[in-house]
């Protein structure tokens, strides 16, 4: 069972090597590796659900001397989301990239990105996290530059520089931790780390580095161009998964490893930045002229919601109320992952079919691409937070926690953000449905429309129903 | 790249021996190093053979000794001279360029000569075109031509070739 942990890293990695060596079979090998990884992620989720957290010591060395992989409910859930989104995007990409040369470039990097995501979620060692962050950053940059347009390369370069700075800051923090505690193993650090002059600066450095990579307002400047100019499947995973990986690390460090050292002021600061992200991101999304840019700014905003939870979690005493809030946070993150990936894939289809993604000129898209438009609507439902989407559930728990702790002002932010989200989504849908009448056509769903549609359904419907089992898993696994 | 001269078996053997010798020196004679050493020496020999453009030339041991002695003596003599010039209260230098004709034909001998001239204090080869080289001198007042000629002869002696054809 515990071998699954290393399997989740080794499978996509091996897949990357094979696709690299056999470019002619790249697509089928990659899909096969993707299915295998997804099955492994599902099995792991089941395993964590039934047995609780799992660990694996690589090389048989005890953690500390060696490196341990660990999976608890949180990481297993995110792994599962990664796998589903990556698999859907892979299916989509197999149609998106048609030339052999393009495929030969795309698949190895794609699987390396998957490797990095899994490795990051499983790693139990601070320095190893630095390496996985770099692997994630470099593969994401290489994929983002595949668009091969000047804008894409330019955005990728800026993305790379920001990512490098982020990981350097993270590494500086890790060095301080090693200087102070002589270990890099996160589980042991959780026991020994105390609030004080070593942990505070170290945590601050690591957090700033990670926030750069997560693109939290006002460090988000690099995200919209990078996400908006990458190829569609790449944009989907950049927005849905890659930024969330570094968010996961912030969560892990603040709630788990260095929970002792977190002060209310620091948590509030994150909350304020999150509020800024919600407002600014939503506003910019409303003003965006291109669909992809809208989706990218919406990512900035949706990431903001996740940070609103930090001051609330800090104020809540351990217990069921806090657990519910954590669950709300995670369900929000997961739903956004599915919704945003579906949205980007749908936008990609529109872009490919009509040659542009200018919002004003979407007229008639609903008639020509009904399934895709429906996918956008489903994603929109999830982004706004209408029931029965997972977002609704997540925001509900945000409200509950805010009122429990008396921090009502976060509710105002969330409500304004939701209204703005409704505005930008309906703006898109309004243009898509248009006013002119089009002759009726038989509804046919193309192969590349399915992934977007399924992701949309997952976000808007399934995640709303997944609440109860999810909480059980988190309780058992944490 | 110039034409590759056909390498004789002894030539290859000599190169292999040289590479093995260098390996032996680098590893400080550790016997257990040959597991890696054997393939490394093989690859290095291969590279060396691939890169060689000329048939192996002869070496004269006596010539080598004469050359080394001259190189050392000239280095020290020139070194002290240049040190005096640069360390004095006033710099006593008159830098300038001069052109010389090369008499050596063998390309490897030429490269060695150029390197030696650059290494010897006071002289530096700043350009090389065809039969001519341009030498930068720290003191252009004194003509180092005789010294250069002697050095050229020593290099020629080392490779067992003639450098006498002054009036080609």
């Amino acid at each position: 069972m515990t071998e699954l942990l290393i399997g989740l890293v080794a499978t996509p990695l091996t897949g990357a090597l094979v696709t690299m060596l056999l470019p002619r079979f790249a697509t089928s090998v990659a899909i096969a590796a993707g299915v295998l990884t997804t099955v492994a992620a599902g099995t792991l989720l089941y395993g964590v659900g039934t047995r609780g957290a799992l660990g694996y010591d690589i090389g048989g060395w005890t953690a500390g001397l060696g490196i341990a992989l660990r999976a608890d409910g949180l990481s297993a859930l995110l792994l599962m989301m990664n796998a589903l989104v990556m698999l859907a995007a892979s299916v989509y990409a197999s149609a998106y990239f048609s030339k052999t040369a393009e495929r030969a470039r795309f698949w190895p990097l794609w699987l390396l990105l998957w490797t990095a995501l899994n490795a990051l979620l499983l790693s139990g060692d601070l320095f190893n996290l630095y390496v996985t962050l770099e692997l994630l950053g470099l593969s994401a940059v290489a994929l983002a530059s595949l668009g091969n347009k000047t804008a894409a390369v330019q955005a990728a370069l800026r993305y790379l520089l920001v990512g490098l700075l982020g990981s350097m800051l993270f590494l500086a923090g890790v060095s301080l931790i090693y200087a102070g505690y002589g270990t890099l193993d996160m589980a042991s650090l959780a026991h020994v780390a105390q609030a004080g002059p070593i942990v505070w600066p170290a945590l601050a450095l690591m957090t700033v580095g990670l926030l750069l990579k997560t693109a939290l307002f006002p460090l988000h400047f690099w995200l919209p161009p990078a996400h908006a100019s990458a190829p569609a499947p790449v944009s989907a995973v950049l927005s849905a998964l890659v930024v969330k990986a570094s968010f996961y690390l912030v969560l892990r460090l603040w709630l788990d490893v260095f929970a002792e050292a977190v002060t209310p002021a620091a948590a509030s600061l994150l909350g304020v930045l999150g509020a800024g992200a919600v407002l600014w991101g939503s506003w910019r999304a409303l003003r965006a002229e291109r669909l992809k840019l809208l989706a990218a700014y919406s990512t900035v905003a949706q990431l903001g919601y996740l940070f609103l939870f930090f001051p609330l979690l800090q104020a809540l005493p351990p217990g069921s109320a806090r657990d519910l809030a954590v669950g709300g946070l995670i369900i929000l993150a997961l739903t956004h992952g599915f919704a945003k990936a579906g949205l980007f894939l749908a936008i990609g289809i529109i872009q490919q079919r009509s040659g542009h993604d200018t919002i004003r000129e979407l007229d008639g898209t609903a008639q020509r691409l009904p399934a895709t438009t429906f996918a956008i609507a489903l994603g929109g439902v999830a982004l706004i937070g209408l029931p029965p989407s997972g977002t609704f559930l997540g925001k509900w728990h945000l409200l509950v926690a805010a009122f429990t702790t008396g921090q009502w002002w976060w509710v105002v932010v969330a409500v304004i953000g939701s209204l703005l989200a409704a505005a930008y989504i309906f703006r898109v849908l309004g243009h898509a449905f248009g006013h002119r009448a089009y002759p009726n056509q038989p509804v046919a769903i193309a192969r590349e429309e399915w992934p977007a549609l399924l992701l949309g359904v997952t976000a808007a419907v399934l995640m709303g129903l997944a609440g109860a089992p999810l909480w059980r898993l988190l309780e058992g696994g944490a | 790249m110039a034409h590759k001269a056909a390498l004789t078996l002894p030539g290859i053997m000599a190169r292999t021996a040289a590479m093995a010798g260098i390996w032996w020196v680098i590893t400080q004679g550790r016997a257990d190093s040959w597991l890696v050493g054997a393939p490394a020496v093989a690859v290095a020999t291969l590279a060396s053979v691939q890169l060689s453009a000329h048939a192996p030339s002869r070496f004269s041991l006596l010539g080598l000794l004469r050359f080394l002695a001259m190189f050392v003596v000239e280095s020290v003599r020139g070194g002290v001279d240049v040190a005096r010039r640069t360390l004095g209260y006033r710099l006593r230098i008159r830098p300038g360029f001069r052109r010389y004709r090369l008499h050596l034909r063998d390309p490897r001998a030429r490269v060695l000569l150029v390197n030696c001239i650059s290494l010897l204090p006071g002289t530096l080869v700043s350009n090389l075109d065809g039969e001519h080289m341009e030498v930068h001198l720290l003191d252009a007042g004194e003509d180092p031509e005789p010294d250069l000629r002697r050095l050229e002869q020593a290099v020629a002696g080392l490779f067992g070739v003639q450098a006498e054809k002054r009036n080609v």
Binding site: - | V76, I93, S118, P121
Partner: protein, 94 residues
């Protein structure tokens, strides 16, 4: 006796290193400074290696020291030549 000789050689080597650096600072133009570089490589390191070889007296160590010195000599001659030629070409073309 050998110790004294070795010490003298090492000190002379250091002396030439310092001369080279001072030359690097004092000499007026690029070409003259290149002379300082090759001299430090040739004499400074050469005397140093000679002194260390006398001091160590193990054949393999001595040979390795010589190998390193030869490498430095070749590199120094080549790079001094390359830099001088580079500067000379720029002079004549601009």
């Amino acid at each position: 006796m050998i110790d004294v000789l070795s010490a003298l050689l090492v000190l002379a080597g250091v002396g030439f290193y310092l001369t080279g650096s001072i030359g690097l600072l004092r000499l007026p133009d690029l070409y003259s400074r290149l002379h300082a570089l090759t001299k430090a490589d040739n004499l400074g390191l050469g005397l140093l290696v000679a002194g260390l070889a006398l001091h160590s007296q193990e054949l393999l160590t001595v040979l390795k020291l010589l190998l390193i010195w030869l490498a430095v000599l070749a590199a120094s001659a080549a790079s001094a030549h390359l830099i001088a030629r580079h500067a000379r070409r720029q002079e004549t073309t601009s």
